[in-house]
Symmetry: C2
Subunit: 135 residues, 2 copies
DNA sequence: GTACCTGCAAACAATTTGCACTAAG
DNA sequence: CTTAGTGCAAATTGTTTGCAGGTAC
């Protein structure tokens, strides 16, 4: 089943992901694209994101908020989740992280996810315990 | 609001978590406990788990399967997720992991989650691409 | 023309919430 | 007694699926 037709929607979604630095959710992306393409269905966004992930052209990013975030940055990296403003930021991954982990015999590692959480600069400098809005 | 009454249900739930090595979900726990306490409500389980997490007596464990897993092991450790049998196993965390990460100025780390995924020994030795059942 | 893809609505799964009632202190 | 806690059902949220019609190739 050749999943390869270049539809307007697919093109739109792929373009929207190009060179992006943040980690949008499907709903976020849908909301943004709806502006210029009002009839775009949310399920179309989901379906295309899933496709891109399967193809390995897109990664999913971990997030403690329970929603799936998509990460156009395919290089290995860690994430920092700000518990205040709920943003997910990129961080470099330590060198040879995998080698430092004592695995049990027979375990084969295929992927590593490192997620730090805390407060980012902007939020840490505020004393107000109220959360900040994202974007 | 003193959240402190020792109800049968709460005691039951806390006991079930004691010294446990796996990472049950709320539904799993509910299913298990329902056996000896048939009227236990799922929401009661959720409410009590949430309470324990807030109190810091229980941690949540990351899992790529989209469901929240609860981790009675409060010492810092990493996890290994087997993509075949879907089990979540404990691993030691590398020493000074946090120090190895180049944070951006101002970022304050409060928690670290390290999740490896791949195949565990049992699954890796099988050639069958079919998933294994989890206990 | 064919079958992949889309939009929409309905289905689903995990979790939360509202509320009348029960029981811990 | 008082009110935190419970069970149950209904509501929410994120995501998936079924299907009839649209459209890329």
């Amino acid at each position: 089943m050749p999943t390869n037709r270049q539809t307007k929607q697919r093109t739109l979604i792929m373009q929207a992901l190009q060179g992006r630095l943040d980690h949008p959710t499907a709903e976020q992306l849908h909301r943004e694209l709806s502006a210029e393409y009002p009839h775009l269905g949310l399920s179309t966004v989901y379906r295309n994101l899933e496709l891109l992930v399967q193809r390995g052209e897109l990664a999913t990013a971990p997030s403690p908020d329970g929603v799936v975030h998509f990460d156009p940055n395919l290089t290995e990296h860690a994430h920092f989740y700000c518990t205040r403003c709920k943003r997910l930021l990129d961080l470099p991954l330590p060198e040879q992280l995998t080698e430092q982990i004592t695995l049990r015999p027979g375990q084969r590692v295929e992927a590593v996810q490192l997620l730090l959480s805390g407060q980012c600069e902007e939020c840490g400098s505020k004393t107000d315990p109220q959360a900040e809005s994202q974007s």
